[in-house]
Symmetry: C2
Subunit: 411 residues, 2 copies
Amino acid sequence: MQKLQTLKGFRDFLPSKMMIRNEVIRRLKQVFEKYGFDELQTPSLEYQELLLGKCGEEAEKLMYLFQDPGNRKVGLRYDLTVPLARVVTSNQDLPKPFKRYQIQPAYRAENTQKGRYREIYQCDIDIVGSSSPISDAEILAVINDSLKSLGFEKFKIKINSRKILFSSMEKAGIPEDKWLTVAQSIDKLDKKEKDEVKKELLGKGVQKNNIDKLFDNLKNVKPDKYLSEVISLAKKLNVSKSLEFTPTLSRGLDYYTGPIFETVVEEPKIGSITGGGRYDKLLKDLGGVNYPAVGTSIGLDRVCDVIEELNLWPEILKTNSKVLVTIFSEKLIEKSLETAQKIREKNINTEIFQSIESLDKQLKYADKKGIPFAIIIGPEEMKENVLTLKDLNKKTQKKLSLEKVILKLSK
Amino acid sequence: MQKLQTLKGFRDFLPSKMMIRNEVIRRLKQVFEKYGFDELQTPSLEYQELLLGKCGEEAEKLMYLFQDPGNRKVGLRYDLTVPLARVVTSNQDLPKPFKRYQIQPAYRAENTQKGRYREIYQCDIDIVGSSSPISDAEILAVINDSLKSLGFEKFKIKINSRKILFSSMEKAGIPEDKWLTVAQSIDKLDKKEKDEVKKELLGKGVQKNNIDKLFDNLKNVKPDKYLSEVISLAKKLNVSKSLEFTPTLSRGLDYYTGPIFETVVEEPKIGSITGGGRYDKLLKDLGGVNYPAVGTSIGLDRVCDVIEELNLWPEILKTNSKVLVTIFSEKLIEKSLETAQKIREKNINTEIFQSIESLDKQLKYADKKGIPFAIIIGPEEMKENVLTLKDLNKKTQKKLSLEKVILKLSK
């Protein structure tokens, strides 16, 4: 085969990986839908004009842009926010607020040496068309419930507001044109020493006395009225223990206009896996209608990788198949098929071995694939009108009636 | 917004469409997994060398081929068979037979005036590494159960074998180099008059007496040994009423080597929605390992379109949300939030209205979005410790305790 490998940064998801991914997605969707979010899907390809809209040079360099067979200038989806802006603008009769989740890949020609993928599965939850703190609180509740549903026990949802951060800077005498770059340095305070960050700020041309004042201000700052409302509403939605006001949190992206949030999972030690906030001007800036919006992203690839690497879900099997019905001989094929069909009728995932081989080889197949049970129907079983059910994990076996086998497999 | 529209042939799936698509996919996956198929996903982008492999000129013209930002020659997935060939070749330790299903979009720059999409959701089920008729029979059983699970009552699974067709041609004296093109004409016999097909064959340079002999042969032909076995095994898997031996069935694609099958749904009148067969040489021809294989495609887009157009599933709602909790006043926000949260704890999909508006406006939102129930909690309800539950379809309302509301919504 000419090119056996996948492209760098692109992945095959073999069945055992899909088992985990599907379970992660199932749990997340259940939470999103419990909060009244519906699913949206958009095309992989869009017009370049749309993708490039207001994106910076850096993003443009990472985009997969090309001409299609009809010579249109097109490109692969770079994120899920630009398509959302397009959808709410071109479907203005959608009920507002529009609450949607979207789980689809985006494409970025990232440096893969940093362990980054180029086909990245994104998972975004957003509320478009509401400027109420209820919406911010609901996004926090979705994050809280999502992480719990994934089995993460100990995590913090850090929360801050761009408005608070900028007003602290203003009070410290930092000129407005430096606010965004200062915010980016401040954001590193959870990983870097204070002095290091101060040095970085000096390097960015901020005055020493302004920096000291800013650090003083950040020590004493409190949530403003809007953020206080968000926090108090979130508590009514059972988000309390995990919520942590963090005046130094600033998030990298420039488009946030109000509350910003980020989740840090502490047990297992995963680090940041969600990020989001309020972006009341972004949709208009992208060329869409002027809707306020708030939302979050969940790092789906990271979550799936961690669950697999740390074997957090040992109960998830490598296959959907619960039982393999073996075939004893040419003469008994039909008996095996009929038996399998009766088990399937009870909604138990059942495989039939696909040819006549030694029993040993058939059981090895089940073992390799991770099927937990096997059934043997030989002449002896036929005579006694029973099945031999092998538990391939416990390495035990028992002769049972079909009804009892079904009962056992249904558990 | 610069380019509001999607590219021609590409589609947004708004929530109401996603409700139907997700339900179709859920039902299909359940059947596939019941028969021991696991899910595989592969990247959207592959090396051009792989995609072009043995594809004809026609396919090449329809492909989305380009250079990525690292100047690699790449292209969008054209089908799910080429990636399957790559996966089984580069993962030779996968347990064999490898039974997988794959539901992902493929990209073809088709003429959209014919109502064709360019981002086509494909749904393939295949068994790789088995030359046993059990496998062919299982694919037939999966087709049979899939269509039943989608609620299609009356359908035919037409079955034939390329070997039978070719041997009839050989006996009729048709030269081997004409077999494939003759097969393509013969395939049209269910849509065209016999005389028209005969004329087409004459035009292809087939002798009149050979054509007449072929038509005679096809009248009397019977399933060969392999096909008879497939049919008899399929019957053990409950595929019987729907199965129909059709000596003129030939399928368009050249790569089938044995049994071929096609489903025609007669009620509702949908026509052909599955196609497949045995392709024992294709994987090797694509440059992969020499594995026999058999499988089928299900026309997912067509199925979803038909279900929507004919309103076959009126019970599928436009939204996942079961109930909207309205907000009576600023003072009562928290009460509404707490109530919503208690209902969510019972796994009922619950929305909260996102701001304080007139009740009328809130109910209109629920109506527009298709949420079937709404809850009102005003001062009166607070005093009586009840909720007002409105059934928005029946236009009735009742004061009930929270417990009774949950009971009613759980149905």
